[in-house]
Symmetry: D2
Subunit: 335 residues, 4 copies
Amino acid sequence: MSKVSEEIIQESAQVRLDNYLRTVAHLGHVEISVTKFEESLSFYREIMGLEVTEIDGDRAYLRAWQDYDHHTLVLKAANVSEVNRVGWRVATKESLELFETQLTKMNIEFSWIDGGSKKALGDAIHFTSPSGIPIELYWEKELFVTDDPKLKSPLPSHPSKYPARGVSPRRFDHVNFMVDDVQKEQQWWTELLGIHHRYFVQNKEDIRLGSWLSRTNIAHEIAFMRNGNQNGGIFHHLAYYLDSPDELLRAANIMAENGIKIEWGPGKHGTSGAQFIYVFEPSGHRVEIWTGGILMFAPDWKPIEWPAGVGELGLEMWGSKPPESYFTYGTKLGK
Amino acid sequence: MSKVSEEIIQESAQVRLDNYLRTVAHLGHVEISVTKFEESLSFYREIMGLEVTEIDGDRAYLRAWQDYDHHTLVLKAANVSEVNRVGWRVATKESLELFETQLTKMNIEFSWIDGGSKKALGDAIHFTSPSGIPIELYWEKELFVTDDPKLKSPLPSHPSKYPARGVSPRRFDHVNFMVDDVQKEQQWWTELLGIHHRYFVQNKEDIRLGSWLSRTNIAHEIAFMRNGNQNGGIFHHLAYYLDSPDELLRAANIMAENGIKIEWGPGKHGTSGAQFIYVFEPSGHRVEIWTGGILMFAPDWKPIEWPAGVGELGLEMWGSKPPESYFTYGTKLGK
Amino acid sequence: MSKVSEEIIQESAQVRLDNYLRTVAHLGHVEISVTKFEESLSFYREIMGLEVTEIDGDRAYLRAWQDYDHHTLVLKAANVSEVNRVGWRVATKESLELFETQLTKMNIEFSWIDGGSKKALGDAIHFTSPSGIPIELYWEKELFVTDDPKLKSPLPSHPSKYPARGVSPRRFDHVNFMVDDVQKEQQWWTELLGIHHRYFVQNKEDIRLGSWLSRTNIAHEIAFMRNGNQNGGIFHHLAYYLDSPDELLRAANIMAENGIKIEWGPGKHGTSGAQFIYVFEPSGHRVEIWTGGILMFAPDWKPIEWPAGVGELGLEMWGSKPPESYFTYGTKLGK
Amino acid sequence: MSKVSEEIIQESAQVRLDNYLRTVAHLGHVEISVTKFEESLSFYREIMGLEVTEIDGDRAYLRAWQDYDHHTLVLKAANVSEVNRVGWRVATKESLELFETQLTKMNIEFSWIDGGSKKALGDAIHFTSPSGIPIELYWEKELFVTDDPKLKSPLPSHPSKYPARGVSPRRFDHVNFMVDDVQKEQQWWTELLGIHHRYFVQNKEDIRLGSWLSRTNIAHEIAFMRNGNQNGGIFHHLAYYLDSPDELLRAANIMAENGIKIEWGPGKHGTSGAQFIYVFEPSGHRVEIWTGGILMFAPDWKPIEWPAGVGELGLEMWGSKPPESYFTYGTKLGK
C-alpha cells in the first residue's frame, strides 16, 4: 500500500473515531424559569415527590429518587416561565472539544461556560438548535451523595430513599418541544449530536407531525412535534418516569385530590407505548408523568413510520382525543 | 298487657320479620339477546376471557372465573339486541312467597317460572319495574362444579382456574339502565326489593341524573341514569370486575390490539371510585370493565349526594369527558 | 287457627326478628396499648400513612383515608403492648338491648359503657370471648368530618384526601387472634354475634388450624388461628387494606427503605386470595398490609374447607414458608 | 509533526476505532436443549405466553410479543437439558472480522458459521468463555414480520399483538450463569466483548459472589454467580421481562393455578431493583420472570459494590431467603 493511501485510511480512522467520540451520552437535566417559584417548588416537592438537593438564591435544584446526579431539574425564579437550558452529558471527556471544532466548522455560535460557574457542573458549551432550543453540553456533573438519615437508603443502588411522598417518580426521562419544521430539527439533532431517530408521524400531506429521538435505549429523550400555530419553537413538556401503570393512575388520583388540572390522560401513545398524564404546574409548564414504553436495542434501528392512516392510534391508542391546547400551548424558549 | 295490644305487637313483629325476609340478597345474572351470537360469544370468551359453562341450542351460559354460580351471563341468539332478564337471588327460601304477596298487594303483574324450566335455576318470579326492566327473583341456582383438569383449580376457593386468556375479570359486578325518571325508579327498587340507595347526582335544576344501589357492601349492583332522550328505559351496560388498575389498562390494551372500540376510558368515576373502560361488544351491548370502588358497611348508610357543582368530578374525576353516546345510547329492554 | 297456636307463631316471629336484630353489622375499630407511643405513632402516621384524627392525653385516634369513622385505630401509651378492645358496630339501634338480654341469658359477664365516656362513641357493651378477646359493641360512632384544606377532598365520597404519604391504605380491614381451640371460638362468635363462618383449615388429625369469619361480604373481619404454643389467646395482627398488588409491593419497598422488618411476604393466602406482607410496628404488634381477596355474596354461604392435603396452598399459594414466629408470636389480650 | 509521530497517532486512532467497533450491541437469543420438548414447548407457549415463530424438525423458535427478531429462544429436542448457545448481536457489520482478529491474537479457538446454516441468522462466530459458556456473535438476524391477522398488531410499533395468553412477557431480557471464578469471568467478558460491569457482590472474605453486566442501558444482560459447588460453569437461568409488579404477581398466580413450582419469589433483588419469580420449566431449566430494575445511563458507570454487610439486602431486599437449590442447581453448558 502506498504511503498516501495509507494516510487516507488513517485519516479516515481519525474521522470515524471522532464521530464516535463527538456524540452525547444521555439527557441530563432541564432548567426552567418559573413565575411562581414557591408554588412550583411546592408542586414539584409535595405533589410530584421530587427531592430538593439544595436551594441557592433564586434557584432550586431537584431530582427524582433514582436520579444519580445532583439534579435533573432546576427551577429559577423569574418574570416569565420559559425553558432556559437542556443539558446533555457527552460521551467522553474528549467530546466537548470535538463539539467545539464541529460547531466552529458549521458556523454555529456557541460559548464556553467554565466549570464551577454553574452549580455541580463542569465545563460546558452553550448553543441553540435551529428552532432556538437552548442546549448545554457537559462532561462533568456531581453525583448526589447524602448522609442525611431521612434521605440515605440502606441500598447502595439507591442514591436516595424512595420518598413515598406524592407521585414519587423514579427518574427524569425526557423533554419535548414544538417546532415549525420537525424534520429539519430532527435531522440537525441526529447529525450533530448523534441522537438516534426512533419513530415519527406523517400527516396526509406527508408533512412530519412529530419525531422522537434518543441516544440511549429508551424510546425518546427528546421529541419534536409540529407547532399547530407555526409561530416558532416552544417548550411542550418535561417528563418524569414511573414504574407501573398502577402508579400512573395513582398519580392521576393525587392530581385530582389536590386540584391539579390533568390536561390529557390517562392515555397511551401507540407509538412508544407510553402511558401518560399531562398536567400543568403552577407556573404554566406542562409536565408529563408516564410509564411503560419500548426499549430499542438494535444498533441499526430503522425509525418506525406512523403514516396518516394509523396516526390517531399513534397519538392515543385507547381512543381518547387530546384537547386543542395540546397542539398549540407551550412555554417559551429562553435565550 | 291486654291481649289486643300484645297481638298488635306480635303482628308488628311478623310484619317487621317479613320485611327482613322479603328482600334480595345480591345480583345474580343478566340474560341478553344478541344479534351476532357467534361474534358476541367469541368476544366474551376470547377477548373478555369468560368461561363458557355450556351452550344449549340458541343460548350460551357464561361466568367469570371467580363466579361461583353456573352462570352470570346468558347470551341468546336473536334478531334484536336487548336485555331479557336481570336475575336477583333473594335473601331466604321464604322470600319468594313473601314477594308474591307483596306484588299482589301492589297490583304488580308477575308470573311464576317453574324450577328446571330455566337452565340451572329453581322457581322464579318474573315481573318488570316501572321503567320496564325485566326482573327475575330466585332462591335456587346451581353452583359451578367441574372436574375438567383444564378448568379445575388446585385451590378450593376458586370455582375454576384463573384463565389467563384475554381480560379475565374476577367476577360479574353490576347492571346499569337509563330511565326517564331516576328518582321514581330508585325509590321503587329500594322499597320493594330492599336495595340500598348508595349515592346520587343532581343537576342544577335539582333533577336526579343518576342513582346507584346495592344490597351488598359493594358500591352498586344496579344503577339508573337519566335517559338524555327521555324516551323510556334502555339497557346501558353490564359490568365485570377486575382486580387492579393495572389489569384495567391491560384490558384497554387488549381492546386496542383487537380492534374493539373503547367508547370511554380509562377514566374514574369520582362517585364510586370505579376505574373503568366502556366498550361495545359485537351485538351492540355496552360492556363496562372496571376495578376499585368503595365498599359500604354502615347499616344506616346515608346516600351521598353529588350536587351539580361537583357532578363533573363525580362523572369523571381525572378530567375526561364522555362522548354524547354515553348519555343516549343503549340496547332495548326485552319483554 | 286457635288463639294459642297463633300466639306461638307470633312468638316465633318475635324470636326470629330478634335474631335478625341481634347481630353485628361490621368491624369498627381496634384499640391497642403500645409501649413506644411516639415511635408507634410515627410508624402509623409516616410509614403506614394513616391520618391522626386527634391525640388526647395518652391516646391517639387514627384512621385510613377512606374510613368514614372518627377512628379505626386507637393507640394508648402503656407499659405493655396488648389489644384493649375490638369494636363492632351492631346492626340496629335496638341491637344493644337484645345483646344485653342474650348475654344475661348466657351468663356472660358484661358491662355498659356510657356514651361519651369514650371518645366519639355512644353507649357500648363490653365483654370477652371464651378465649379472652375483649369485645366492644356499639351503635353510635362519630363520622370523620373535616374542613381542613390539607385533609378535605373535593370528592364527596372521600371522607378525606388520599394522603400519598407512606403506604396510605384505603381502609381498616380485620383483626386476627391466636387461640387454643379455634372451632369452639368460631362457633361462639357465629352463634352469639352472627358473624358468618367463611373458610377453615383442618390439619391431618382433623384439628381446626384456622377459621375466618365476616358479617359483611369481605372474606374476613376476624380470624382465629391455632396457637402453636397452646398457652391461651393472643393478638396476632391488625390489618389495613390496599387497592392493588402494585401498592402491596410498593409497601414492601417502603418497609425495606425504612428498616422495618417484614416478617413474611409478599405472599398470597390461597384461602382468601389475600396478597400480604406482615410487619412488626415499633411496639411489637404485628400489622398486615394486604390487597385482593374474595367477596362472598351467597346468603347461605357454606364455609370452604381446606383439608390437610391443600393446607399449604391455603397458607401460601406461591410457595413461600412463614417463619416459626408466625405460628407462635403475638401480643397480649388486655383485660 | 514528524511523519512517524503522526503515523503513531493515526495508528492509535485506528486502534481506538477498532475498540469502538469490536463490541457487542446487545444480547440476542439463547438456544437450549430440552429433554421434554413437547412439555417445554407447551410451557413456553401456553403458560409463559410466548409466540412460536416456527417449528422446524427438532427445533422450535420463540419470541415475546415485543421482541423484534425472528426468535429470542430456541428449543431443541435432546437427551440432556443444557444451554447450547448464547447469541449476541455485534455493534456494526465490521465487528465480526475485528473479533476474528482479536480471538486469533488471544489464541481463543473459534469457528465461523455460514449465514443461512442457522435459521434466520447471518454469518456467526462461535467460541466459548473461560468457564465454558458457548457464545455466538452475529450481525444479521431476520426480523419477525407477519401478515397473520391473529398475530399482526394494528400498531406499527408492535411486531406482533400482545397475546393476552398466560404470562405474556414483553421481551427477552437476560441470561445468568454460575461459574467458579466470577471475577475472572466478568473481566474476560468486559474486556473482550465490551459488556459493562454494572454491580457486584463480595462476601466477607472479599470473594466475588456475583457480577452483573450489560452493554445496553438495562441493569444486566448477563450475570455470573459463584457456583456453590465449585464444580464448573452451569446455566442458572434465562429471563423474560414484564411491564409491572402487578403482572409479576399475576404470573405467580398463573404458575400456582397450573401446578408450576415457584422456586423463589415473589422477591426483589436490592442490587438491580428486579422484582422476580423463578420457576422450573418441564425440562429442568430455571426461568426468571421479572420486572422493574434500574436503567444505567452514565458513560463512565462505576460498578456498584455490595459489600458483605448489605449483601443480603442485595440478594433480596424484602427479607425472604432463597432455597439452597438457588445457589447450586443449574443445567449444563453445551459444547
